[in-house]
Subunit: 412 residues, 2 copies
């Protein structure tokens, strides 16, 4: 395929997917191909006006805003909007706190749901915070942590499942982008009598999750990746309705109390998902996240997924053709792919920095991976081709070996 | 004293305290006397531009902002600015998470500092979240909770202190405004070999704390009261330098790791106060809090305290003269008074609602208290007199008995 033919193919694909090109809803700098929306999503245009309005409420109505502008209900209101994105009926999702904190809470609650079982299963390739939090909870509740690749978990459960309290897995591997079998592992966990806890940080807003349909027990996810809520946006907690009456968070604040304004000395857990609230959440952060979710009023996640698969498929096609020395670590099968594509290259840090200098923003992950995130609503097939052409140019010019490109910290 | 004489006295006091009248730094609606800054501080004018700038960084520099705009360092940078306000040398305060969460963390860490001791002492009149969190931690670590009024704690420690691991107290009572003896109780705790943990939510930014000078061990505080960081602003954690090497938080995320970007499977606590970080904090919320702290570049806390004592003293004087039926529950002695004044009145809810309708915003706390918060930088002696005159008018007109004023939820 000639360069012109490939450009024409990108154009044709963009025309075919024009209905899901939502770049106009985002405020992106011109000339940048942003392939790090899986780390920090680009700002939806709806966010700035919403923050301005919240500041105005604070200024004008002061403390009365808790009532007058329904600040009190923000965690559950935003939660219900996230629920639609992750395939959950209302009343099962609450937003607030960081992913680290909410993961601690759901894991402690999972232990309380399965007292007497001694093991917890996780993927050793999980995002580090998941491993750190799990390790702390394991110490607290006396769990032994058993490591397994997600695709080996069903076998492990069939063999030793009687003693497994919970399985904690990420829906997509943060390094390779591999998508794991949420439905299958959840069913296997249930067959063993264990609780399935999913971290959907890398798929919420990018892949249809069907948390209700697949009978997931507990889940947490990130607000600042594909949900676009801004740097450090509140995370969310999903507690399936059937578990809510027995859901016992370890950290209990007054927002999760049955009668918060009675200021009673004893904590009485609220009914429903409100018991997963803790203390006073950042209303500014919640307002930004709430506004960001407006994007999903314009497109459903199935359509985002279709666009994402077309984009990542074309990205892989361009990489195969133009950068054959890049070893693809992301699965080629669409159904095994999340929404980012990672390739192994020597001097991956240098590659990423040289790409940034050329206006293509991805990131680097050890060991030696260039990670290209595809937040589908604001990217095109033309962007995929442009990114790969720039990667070719970086390697041809040896820019990845330039000393100034060797060390740089990145943040997921 | 006639009405004119009292107005002249207010005027004289305002003239005498003109140097600490910083209302021009705040964006308050005209015609409102805001006496709920101890619940939600009024917005400093510096906040909106700072949020706008942070949004612009996100829009223009996207994920690179973590490096280019020092987002990564925000929790410790903001922490160091708070440190100045609470009397701590740099490197001992970190901002992020809610008060509920950071209290859980410091209490778990306190237990790890004093293994083998079985008791924890607290005030049963503490803000409910403190009691709820402590109760959960006590279950986790096997503590028995012993209740005592703060002024009885030294005696209790002298008698049973050998078995006390920690004392958790609020520096000011959230209902009565009574200020407790931070230095004395801390010394008594140390004499017994216990750790002193203070919740300074109701005094940080209003009263000089001298956390270092008084050898406080651990403290937490709120960002949205006298620090003015906006609704649900991040809380802060103080860990005295001498305890940092042994500080072991229960919830461990990647931001508190010694090498966060190495993405290692095992958690290794960072040196210094950074180990008190958890997961990714809200950068928007931290930006607002950081900007709010600019107020303390214009005034030090000792001057704020002097103004506050003059204001609350005059408020009590006006209440005594004009509303003798209001029973003062706040101590009359200046050194025993925080920065709010509470009075007991029949139909306190109705009083508060009727006052709001007249432009005087305070709040209500059970049992039957009208709570008038005095955030000194943006209030005047004239405001104190106006508030009391409106209270007199409310009672004279019976507005507190009006049915529409009987039920209303307020938020601290």
């Amino acid at each position: 395929m000639t360069r012109d033919e490939r450009a024409a193919r990108a154009q044709d694909l963009d025309t075919a997917h024009a209905a899901t090109d939502l770049r106009h809803l985002f405020d992106l700098p011109p000339g940048v191909v942003y392939l790090d929306g899986n780390s920090l999503g680009a700002p939806p245009r709806s966010v700035a006006p919403a923050l301005h309005a919240t500041l105005e409420h604070w200024r004008r109505d002061l403390v009365s805003s808790w009532n007058d502008h329904a600040w009190w209900e923000a965690p559950t209101r935003v939660g219900d909007r996230i629920a639609r994105v992750v395939g959950a009926a209302p009343g099962q999702v609450v937003a607030g706190d960081s992913t680290t904190v909410v993961l601690f809470q759901v894991l402690r609650a999972a232990a309380a749901l399965r007292p007497g079982r001694r093991l917890v299963v996780t993927d050793p390739a999980s995002f580090p915070t998941d491993l750190y939090v799990l390790s702390g909870v394991a110490r607290d509740v006396g769990w032994e942590v058993v490591h397994a690749r997600p695709d080996e978990v069903p076998t492990l459960l069939a063999e030793r499942g009687d003693d497994v309290a919970a399985v904690l897995l990420s829906h997509a591997d943060f390094r390779t982008g591999e998508l794991w079998d949420l439905a299958g592992v959840t069913a296997a966990a249930h067959a063993a009598g264990a609780v399935a806890v999913w971290d959907v940080s890398h798929t919420a807003g990018a892949v249809p999750l069907g948390l209700d349909a697949h009978d997931v027990d507990l889940a947490v996810g990130c607000g600042y990746k594909y949900l676009g809520g801004g740097p450090g946006a509140p995370a969310f907690t999903y507690v399936a309705r059937r578990h809510q009456a027995a859901y016992e968070p370890a950290v209990r604040g007054w927002h999760g109390h049955a009668r918060p304004f009675a200021m009673e000395p004893e904590h009485v857990l609220a009914d429903g998902i409100a018991r997963a609230r803790t203390g006073t959440p950042s209303i500014l952060a919640l307002a930004a996240l709430e506004a960001a979710l407006d994007v999903f009023d314009h497109v459903d996640v199935a359509a985002v997924r279709a666009r994402s698969l077309s984009l990542t498929g074309f990205l892989v096609e361009c990489l195969d053709a133009l950068v054959p020395e890049a070893r693809l670590v992301t699965p080629r099968e669409p159904e095994r792919r999340g929404s980012h594509v990672s390739v192994a290259l020597p001097r991956a840090i240098g590659v990423v920095q040289a790409l940034v200098a050329r206006g293509v923003v991805g990131d680097h992950r050890e060991p030696g991976l260039v990670r290209l995130g595809v937040a589908a609503p604001y990217l095109t097939h033309g962007d995929m081709l442009a990114a790969v052409e720039q990667l070719r140019a970086v390697l041809d010019a040896g820019e990845d070996a330039a000393p100034e490109n060797q060390v740089r910290r990145t943040v997921t």
